[in-house]
Symmetry: C2
Subunit: 411 residues, 2 copies
């Protein structure tokens, strides 16, 4: 019997589901009898510096796997390192494949977004040129939901649940005074509006917020925006607006100020976000109470309100990635195929990673209302199943109990 | 037997516990056989416009009381109306007491912060001058924890739990890259640092964030702040800072920019917060990755992560307020007296509201380290019991299910 050894890495920005995929990979590797399950610390960059750990010995109980599955951010840390092309720097590839060879690596799993899939694609392509038997498998994750080759991305459903729940709670908070008011909630997703669209899931029989939704897929027009609000004020006094951080004008200029002309009281240039810019526009135009709220990193790290569908799926995709490698596939990214929407069912698929890396999946125009300020029922139906279910978080001393990540803090 | 009728109102800013106090008042009034339990919609201002509702008929089941207890913001809405003095405007008092008389009101409960206690004090004082038999009882709430006459305020524990949990999750989010980075978390509390101090509850055996804590009770010194960070960088690469929105220099000038000299790209003056100002100072000085996160209104409306101790206590105080009125007390604010810290036990007390209204309880100097950049163990021990326990939130369609507040949206 051949021994099996693998590397696993995480890369790009964090989500609350990426550790569930890691837990899935470890679990399946253990079930398949892998000898060593190596985790790269800080991704491919850490591997280049020989920074890795043996995950098989660390995660030797169901309890520890569960703790991993229910902890936010990235247990293995991340990097923003882009592999050079082979023609630019063949040495890096020789070095990596020598390490693979020394450790008798049979399989390589990399969990991440677009840039991470670029790493998988490059390694797989190089591996092919040297007839390497190693399987290179990409496992998707991103709160932005902008990857091709999958119905949606692990991590998105939990971020969407956070966004919808927060929008609901902010709507309650905004309901208490009897006066004209505008509340702007700025949501992540620079180029794709999926997460901003998910704010619509806050609507219930008791809540109609958000009243207006602006995605980066629609060119932002300040005059139309003000007109939209004027129309809403005819119906109600407290207007709730969801806006993507990445809205921009017809020339592609983002609404937020960049690091350019603005200065703080100390004379230093200052950057402020899209929500703040819109807040200012509304204050000037309407003269009423206006506030902007940036959900910021909490939308990608609030594990305590994760979606069960998302966490379960992320774990399952991790397991399936190992099965896919053992079925002798390589150069692929795992994905989800929705097989039914009501009840929601899905299965695990994989596609050639070269066809996916460096592409962006945006919200289709037909899923945005023709006025460009809301989403259609089709998009709502697409989003809805992904935020269902809650996970049982363990609280200790009044706060969530998450896995120890001391190994990320070593120098 | 005399009939009993009461008014209940909510005022000031929202918390996730203020509806629990309302639920407590309603429950106890029902147990005591009140004929009418009137809720003022939008506080005393709503009452002046005859906007009130019968809560006894609305909340006619334990299920409905539970839904109220577990919903954020303010079921009855709020106002920021300050009662005039009697000498300035006796008419307003005559009008209010005529309404009380017409409806045979025996008891008046007002749930709020400092301004609301001012309303209670003024009504009680006027009532005394006309020998009114009505009992005027204040029920405290504020996330700021800055009221006198109580060990702590209802609503604070839940906000503290949100702040500590968010700080923990942001610390995980900030751990993934291996580079020098500063993360600044801006927390509410303009004049009192209690809530910012609660960020220290995020510390566990797996997490030492926040590394530095700046409260408004300590004069802010930019040079010392930069020096503090330099010292921390000698030990670690990712520095987490908790800062109150209200830190200020020795002349009382707040660090945030006010609405003064800053202008956005459209030439309008722009206001940005303390966290953003510190972010800029750090970027300029350290040249490393710096980000600031404003927890904003979510710290006062995130019902889904409320403290059980807080919600239970808030409900209990509401009940006790009714008992206190029926024991023929008036002109008092209810409060909490801590009788033991470990295990935590407390009892309900009341004090003369005139001694409390318009005063602020700040963090004592001896509970702040002499360096002025952290809290002492005593403050940690004081805070710790208040965030314990979780409440069972009902989720529906993937988001929390909260009580219908359609009555607040009527014109």
């Amino acid at each position: 019997m051949n021994t099996k050894n693998c590397f696993i890495g995480q890369s790009g920005g964090p989500t609350v589901a990426i550790n569930a995929s890691l837990a899935g990979v470890i679990t399946q590797c253990q079930e398949e009898g892998f000898t060593h399950i190596y985790g790269m610390v800080n991704g491919i960059q850490g591997l280049l510096e020989d920074h890795f750990m043996d995950l098989g010995t660390t995660f030797n109980s169901e309890e520890k796997i569960d703790a991993l599955k229910h902890s936010p951010a990235m247990y293995l840390g991340s990097c923003r390192y882009k592999l050079p092309t082979v023609s630019d720097d063949k040495n890096t590839y020789d070095l990596l494949f020598k390490k693979f060879n020394d450790l008798e690596i049979t399989d390589f799993f990399y969990i991440g977004g677009n840039d991470s899939m670029d790493t998988v694609a490059k390694l797989a392509a190089y591996g092919e040129t040297i007839n390497s038997p190693i399987h290179f498998i990409g496992i998707p994750k991103t709160i932005d939901n902008d990857l091709m080759g999958t119905d949606h991305t692990p991590g998105f459903g939990s971020a969407a649940k956070y966004v919808a729940s927060s929008m609901l709670e902010i709507a309650y908070d905004s309901s208490i005074y009897k006066l004209d008011a505008i509340t702007i909630v700025e949501i992540m997703g620079r180029n794709a509006g999926w997460l901003t669209a998910a704010s619509a899931l806050a609507r219930t029989e008791c809540n109609d917020a958000p009243d207006l939704i602006y995605l980066p897929e629609v060119v932002f027009d300040k005059e139309r925006f003000l007109k939209d609000i004027e129309e809403k004020f005819k119906e109600k006094s407290s207007i709730m607006i969801a806006v993507s951080e990445g809205i921009h004008d017809e020339n592609g200029n983002f609404l937020d100020s960049g690091d350019s002309q603005q200065y703080d009281a100390f004379g230093h240039p200052i950057h402020f976000g899209t929500g703040k810019v819109l807040e200012n526009i509304c204050k000037e135009h309407f003269g009423c109470k206006v506030r902007s709220i940036e959900l910021n990193v909490l939308q990608r790290c609030a594990m305590h309100i994760a979606s069960k569908v998302d966490i379960d799926e992320s774990f399952f995709i991790g397991k399936k990635a190992v099965e896919t490698a053992l079925a002798d596939h390589t150069n692929v990214m795992m994905g989800v195929k929705r097989t039914s929407n009501d009840p929601y069912t899905a299965e695990c698929i994989y596609s050639n990673v070269q066809d996916i890396a460096n592409l962006e999946q945006k919200v289709p125009a037909e899923w945005i209302t023709k006025e460009g300020n809301d989403i259609t029922q089709e998009l709502y139906d697409y989003l809805y199943p992904l935020i269902q279910g809650e996970i049982a978080i363990t609280y200790k001393n009044g706060i969530p109990s998450y896995i120890d990540i001391a190994h990320l803090k070593e120098n």
